[in-house]
């Protein structure tokens, strides 16, 4: 490899990171979740280094976007820090699990789990925005103890939105798992964090997404230091992806605000489901339980993702139609 080719490779990884960041922010799934399949499938980068680079890039994007949300006082820093108690413990467990998996050359587990997590994240992510603001629930004992009453100014509704978080403990349980997934797969697991705060704690969507954004960095930092010592961070690749993903998600956020046709999102979801199926099949192939050739995998993934996304599209359209009637 001459220096020129090395430079070209570097820029190529930056471009990959940029696409991952762009797609991650346009879908709301986060750059890391797109970056790992991209690097392993199209760049041939070992999954160890792909997850290491992803975890590092996740901190960069989290810090970049959280900076704006914290300033606008939409993220609830208090709830975020409280929930980090569980995510950081989870991240330590998850990273140690990753070390065990890689030490025993069980890479296929990471591929399969990654594919599964990616596919399962699609439904809640696609549904996002359905119930922007949940009905105000009666505060429970955890609302008072953990001071989970908050208010933020909603620019679109042009009013202050008051909310009460409930069931702190339920949130903590979900966060523990989100942390484990983050450490094991090298992603921020923001979709799972949103789920926890949305379903378990009854927080408004704006608060959950922005608070999760803020939390992802702390979770990823925990896993990153273990990844560092384990040698999962190839600094040349990580530097390229950190720069690329950060730029991509920055541009993605700008586009998202101006995107008038929300249906374009479905195209992106199709890409994500393609990557999810591809990871799943790649894992099964290297495990020897379902051996497919590279081209077969591409065909199966493409077909499955089209079917999957069409079904998801119809289901969510139906839900939206019902919402309008109510």
């Amino acid at each position: 490899m001459t220096p020129l080719i090395a430079l070209f490779n570097f820029l190529l990884i930056v471009v990959g990171g940029f696409s991952a960041g762009l797609l991650g922010s346009l879908t709301g799934l986060g750059g890391g979740t797109v970056l790992v399949p991209l690097l392993t499938i199209f760049y041939g980068i070992p999954i160890i280094y792909a997850t290491g680079a992803s975890l590092i890039s996740t901190i960069a994007t989290s810090a970049g976007s959280a900076s704006a949300y914290v300033k606008e006082r939409i993220s609830n820093v208090k709830i975020g820090i409280g929930l980090e108690v569980a995510t950081t413990v989870g991240a330590i467990i998850g990273s140690l699990l990753a070390v065990y998996v890689y030490d025993h050359r069980l890479q296929w587990i990471i591929y399969v789990l990654f594919g599964a997590v990616l596919l399962f994240s699609l439904y809640p992510t696609a549904q996002k925005g359905r119930h922007e603001i949940p009905p105000l629930k009666k505060p429970d004992w955890t609302t008072r103890l953990f001071q989970m009453t908050g208010v933020y100014y909603d620019a679109r509704l042009k009013k202050d939105v008051h909310y009460n978080g409930v069931k702190w403990w339920a949130g903590e349980i979900v966060m523990l798992f989100a942390g484990i997934i983050s450490g094991l797969l090298g992603i921020g697991s923001g979709a799972m964090k949103v789920l926890g705060m949305d379903w378990a704690m009854n927080l408004p969507m704006k608060v959950t997404t922005t608070t999760s954004n803020f939390m992802v960095g702390i979770t990823a930092a925990t896993g990153s230091s273990i990844y560092w010592y384990a040698g999962y961070i190839q600094v040349f690749v990580a530097a390229a992806t950190a720069i690329g993903v950060l730029a991509g998600s920055f541009i993605g956020t700008k586009i998202l605000v101006r995107m008038s046709n929300k249906n374009i999102r479905w195209l992106f979801f199709a890409v994500l489901s393609f990557l999810g199926v591809e990871m799943l099949l790649k894992g099964l192939a290297s495990n020897g339980s379902f051996v497919t050739s590279g081209t077969d995998r591409l065909a199966i993934s493409a077909l499955t993702s089209v079917i999957l996304i069409s079904c998801l599209f119809l289901v969510i359209r139906k839900q939206e139609a019902e919402d309008v009637q109510v």
Binding site: G52, G64, I81, V85, R105, Q107, I226, Y227, Q234
Partner: protein, 137 residues
């Protein structure tokens, strides 16, 4: 410290962390190309990431870049350590956020949240200092 200042400080630190880190990363990469490598490794070796599902073949990763080498590496314009420093600045950015939150909670005498932020900090440093020693990662 009012609520207003608290959020602004957090926001500034987050942005500063990212900007400083990206500058360090870009400097490191530039240095590697300008000096034709770093630390005795060629660009070729630094850029290669092995192949296959494991770490097979030669590649330079974080395990060969100790934190203790950063100061010396940066002084000697070693690109690899510039990147290392940039990555550690990134890792420390969220940690500093928790530290600032801890200070804010202590100032407001919010005992419960002081305890919660201390636990989070403990976990962060546990991962950084204790796990590598005891688990032979």
């Amino acid at each position: 410290m009012s609520k207003y200042e608290f959020n602004d400080i957090l926001s500034t630190v987050l942005r500063l962390g990212v900007v400083v880190s990206i500058i360090l990363l870009a400097t490191g990469v530039t240095l590697i190309f300008v000096m034709h490598g770093a630390d005795g490794y060629s660009i070729d070796q630094i850029a290669s990431y092995g192949s296959g599902s494991g770490i097979s073949g030669f590649s330079i990763n974080s395990s060969s870049l100790p934190l203790t080498g950063i100061l010396n590496g940066v002084v000697h314009l070693n690109g690899l350590y510039f990147i290392s420093l940039g990555l550690w600045v990134l890792i420390f950015t969220p940690i500093s956020i928790v530290l600032i939150a801890l200070a804010e909670f202590a100032y407001l005498k919010n005992r419960l949240y002081v305890v919660l932020s201390v636990i989070v900090l403990f976990d962060l440093f546990f991962a950084m200092l204790v796990v590598p020693v005891f688990f032979h990662v």
